[in-house]
């Protein structure tokens, strides 16, 4: 087991309070137990990568954290307070924004509309506020700005999302979450369908979000991305957390071995574990 030299002090220490924590989450679907007593933690300003085999339960875990699914058991804490997130709206009230793996876009609606779905920009003035009249012009302008930040070459923001390519569609979902988060950003495989350049832009975006002080949960199967950007790595296996690793101290190969079960977490030397 090779450990990378300890280059910098860990940016987060055990003394700092956790932004988000989950304990003993369980979610069953009929016979399938998608989350099987999972724990999770997230420190302020960190990028926490969640990795694991297909079907390990990563998406289920973050769905529980973002209110998309209500766990059968377990408890979630936000800033140390126990909370129950029983719907996506509640998660949004807490400032949690999520990119879902299946994107959650309305295909017949335009890119601009999808970007601002549920948080439309309204025209100024009391009348416009009362009737919630859209400021379509500003929404279009902002949409152009967001998508240009990610360097997507999309002709028109008033194109329906269903006419976009797979990667462009993912770009829309990513731009949306980054634009509106106030507390935590959760991204479920945000670069899966993206090209090399676009992926790099999204990684940059994630760094920028972190630099604003918001912690990011990043699910990814792309190990180079994970090792490039993550502060800590949560390895998910069979519905629960198998290990919490420090990517600066463990090699990619070992990480994959833990993920696939070739190395048991107990066999790891303590210094590659994150704390």
């Amino acid at each position: 087991m090779t450990a990378a030299p300890h280059l910098t002090p860990a940016p987060t220490g055990p003394a700092r309070p956790l932004v988000m924590e989950a304990r003993g989450l369980v979610k069953r679907y009929g016979h399938v137990t998608a989350i099987n007593g999972a724990d999770f933690e997230l420190r302020p300003g960190e990028i926490m990568a969640v990795i694991g085999d297909n079907g390990a339960g990563k998406s289920s875990l973050i769905k529980a954290l973002s209110g998309a699914v209500v766990p059968d058991e377990g408890q979630i804490f936000l800033d140390g307070q126990p909370i129950s997130i029983r719907s996506p709206i509640e998660a949004r009230r807490h400032g949690i924004e999520t990119v879902y793996q299946d994107l959650a876009v309305a295909p017949a609606m335009t890119i601009a509309e999808n970007l601002f779905l549920g948080r439309e920009i309204l025209k100024p003035g009391p009348l416009a506020r009362t009737f919630r009249i859209l400021d379509k012009k500003r929404m279009l302008e902002e949409a152009v700005r967001y998508m240009q930040d990610l360097q997507f070459a999309i002709k028109s923001m008033s194109q329906p999302v269903e006419t976009l390519s797979g990667g462009q569609r993912q770009g829309v979902a990513v731009a949306r979450s980054a634009a509106f988060a106030r507390h935590v950003v959760i991204m479920d495989e945000p670069t899966a369908a993206l090209g090399v350049r676009e992926s790099n832009m999204v990684l940059d975006l994630i760094r920028k979000v972190r630099d604003k002080g918001l912690p990011v949960i990043l699910i990814s199967h792309n190990m180079p991305h994970v090792f490039e950007i993550a502060d800590r790595v949560h390895v998910h296996r069979m519905g629960r957390r198998a290990a919490l690793l420090d990517p600066r101290r463990i090699s990619m190969a070992d990480t994959v071995s833990v993920m696939t079960g070739a190395i048991k977490p107990e066999e790891l030397s303590a210094d590659v574990l994150a704390h």
Binding site: P14, L18, E21, R23, G24, Y29, G30, E41, A68, V69, V70, P71, D72, E73, G74, Q75, F77, G80, P82, S84, R86
Partner: protein
Amino acid sequence: MTQTPTATPPARRGPQLPSLTTLGPLIALLLACIFFATQSDRFLTSQTLALVLKQISYVGVLAIGQTLVILTAGIDLSCGVIMALGGMVITKLAAEQGLPPVLAVLAGLAITTALGAVNGLLISRLRLPPFIATLGMYGIVFAATQIYSNAQTVSNLPPALNFLGSGFALGSATFSYGSVLMLLLFGVAWFFLTQTAPGRHVYALGNNPEAARLTGILTTRVLIGVYATAGLLYGVAALILVGRVGAGDPNAGQTENLESITAAVLGGTSLFGGRGNVLGTLLGAMIVGVFRVGLTLAGVNSVYQVLVTGILIILAVATDQLSRRKA
């Protein structure tokens, strides 16, 4: 560093395994039966069962066709009037033109099948929304029936055409051959939909038409086949209706489109296609039939029957939904 975890009460929401789709309607049917049994001591008899089966026989067969159509994410508003036209063709040819009953029946089935196929063509080739295509067809076939029959009922049928209306005694009840045929057709439809390749293609087409197309399913052919088969079934329903009524009735079938859709949806078939079960449709048709007989036996006045049926339909499906959430 962390608080003591307190367990949240188990909450059951979000997507569930769509298992046991016929369980809900079954529970609703049983509850309805129990309810009516307390209302009338004449309810829990084999006669009631025979009666319900007899009364739903032709709508039941229509509902098989309707279920096939709905599974493809379609809808058929023309089913009842196609049945009516089929019935008129059969009875007029047999009773007025003196054709042998078998030939008259074949002619009737050929016409209803052809009309179904036209629906299928309009929907698959011209890409009309099924609602519009079959609504247009409703008007055309309805008017054609009136014109063809001059709005006159045909009676004095050759005895062969009454066969499906007759039946056999089982205990104190008489089960009609028409209802036996209906049950048989439900069995065949179930087998077709669950055990054969074309049956699964019907589901795939309704579930994700683009995926069906991309995996090489001949979607046009499946659609035309489904609507034509539905047309054939409407012809069989016409035959059952003729046998049951003992006459050719040009005014039949005007409300049966809604009734057959109701049976399918009560039975758990989704109007968005690709999800459902033809046995659920049988249960759905039986629920409506049981309501009708039960409310009459309970002595409920006709306006109030409409009222109570409305309430019961909502309750039945609400039970279904709640039982699913528990499951």
